[in-house]
């Protein structure tokens, strides 16, 4: 049976952040997949996947910016929400410039994340309808 629940991908090299965000998003009835590395994510998720990616910026190996660039280059339709524990004023601007739906500074309120996801999903739906 095709699930109507929205699919959220979480890519963060911190296991406990992944697990906690998943637990939280599950209570909002999202379907959630988590990845600890860019490689794990690209190996598992096809380029034409739809949904929303919660993407950590500061990761060992490929960082969030590199992942986003690769997604853009491959024409991916995923909506990206950047999250970061690092405090850089420029990060939020840069996130929007590279086409992300939003940027959240860790630790953030769960509802704020969900609102952003909802907004991303609505955008997606309206593009598909067009």
């Amino acid at each position: 049976m095709f699930s109507k629940r929205k699919l959220i991908y979480i890519l963060d090299d911190d296991e406990s952040v992944c697990c906690a965000l998943k637990t939280l998003l599950l209570t909002y009835e999202f379907e959630v997949m988590t990845f600890n590395s860019a490689k794990g994510f690209f190996d598992a998720v096809p380029m034409d996947a739809q949904g929303c990616l919660v993407l950590d910026i500061h990761m060992s190996g490929s960082d969030g910016w590199t992942v986003q660039k690769r997604l853009l280059d491959s024409g991916s339709k995923l909506s990206v929400i950047f999250i970061s524990a690092e405090k850089k004023e420029s990060a939020a601007d840069r996130a929007l410039k590279v086409g992300a739906v939003g940027f959240l500074q860790k630790p953030f309120d769960g509802q704020t994340l969900v609102d952003l996801i909802d907004r991303a999903v609505k955008n997606m739906d309206s593009t598909i309808k067009k």
């Binding site: 952040v17 906690a20 209570t27 524990a85 860790k106 630790p107 309120d109 769960g110």
Partner: protein
């Protein structure tokens, strides 16, 4: 040069004869000439000596300058290292805080309207989590390498503003703060907030030193004065426990603290703020009791 030396040596010997000797006119003339030559040479030597002394002084001053620059560099490096360290620390702590926050919110949602007591506990977890996050934000703001915004300031106004911020804190501790402000000070160029931060740090350190100093140490003084034409001096004097010789050396080092719950950053940050203003922050023990922290700040004249 060779001949001159030969002339000086016998000349000296002849200049102090034990017995008067009869001299011919020719000899007299020769002696006079010799005397003139000697005097000239003595003056010349004195001049050279003076020049050498001045050269040595210049060299010393240059050495001092190099030493100061080296210290400055070390300091800048330390501040940079500290900022780096705090930044990675903040990152590492933010990760579990994010997880804790999300878990607690998830649990709240799972409980929905059930278990009000558990809900309340979860809310406490969330609130305290936010408190921890706020501490990290403040820490980051403190070390942010933001360039100070310099404006023309009256240092006495800055001191008064700072006192009004902390006066309640002082009175509830049954302490007295005295002001001896020189009303004729020229303006300075500085960052109001940063200078307040320095003064607050010095005043609260003094208060803590007086707490440790016992019941009869309860008075502190803030004094502003003119050190010289281009420098203003601000002194914060307390009647507290003073500074031990051991602590005096490390006073301004990062992470050095004599307080059980201190971070050891107040004075090192204060010093880098004062130095960014072109001044110096130092400490000394008073003759009687307590210690004085004092900093200089250049006046805004001639700019």
């Amino acid at each position: 040069m060779e001949t001159k030396k030969k002339e000086i040596a016998p000349g000296r010997r002849r200049a102090a004869p034990k017995k008067p000797v009869r001299q011919s006119a020719g000899e007299k003339k020769a002696r006079n000439n010799l005397g003139k030559k000697l005097r000239r040479q003595i003056t010349e030597l004195q001049k050279r000596d003076e020049q050498l002394k001045q050269g040595a002084d210049r060299e010393k001053a240059a050495d001092r300058k190099i030493e100061e620059q080296r210290e400055e560099l070390l300091h800048v490096t330390r501040v940079g290292k500290l900022a780096e360290f705090v930044s990675s620390l903040a990152h590492e702590i933010s990760q579990p805080l994010t997880a804790i926050h999300s878990y607690a919110q998830a649990a709240q949602r799972m409980l929905a309207d059930r278990e009000p007591q558990l809900q309340e506990i979860l809310q406490h977890i969330i609130n305290d989590n936010q408190r921890a996050a706020a501490v990290i934000l403040r820490l980051r703001a403190l070390l942010k390498k933001s360039k100070p915004t310099f404006e023309t300031l009256d240092i006495n106004a800055v001191i008064n503003d700072t006192i009004s911020l902390i006066i309640t804190h002082i009175t509830v501790r049954h302490k007295i703060i005295k002001c001896e402000l020189d009303g004729k000070l020229p303006p300075i160029k500085g960052d109001r907030i940063q200078l307040q931060q320095v003064l607050l740090n010095l005043v609260s350190n003094s208060l803590e030193a007086m707490d440790a100093g016992g019941a009869d140490s309860c008075e502190m003084t803030i004094k502003s004065s003119r050190k010289n034409a281009r420098t203003i001096l601000v002194e914060v004097t307390d009647s507290g426990s003073g500074i031990s010789a051991k602590n005096m050396k490390k006073l301004f080092s990062h992470f050095f603290t004599s307080k059980p719950d201190g971070l050891g950053m107040g004075l090192s940050i204060s010093r880098s703020i004062v130095e960014a203003h072109g001044g110096r922050l130092k400490a000394r023990n008073n003759r009687g009791r307590g210690a004085t922290f004092y900093f200089t700040i250049p006046t805004n004249q001639g700019e």
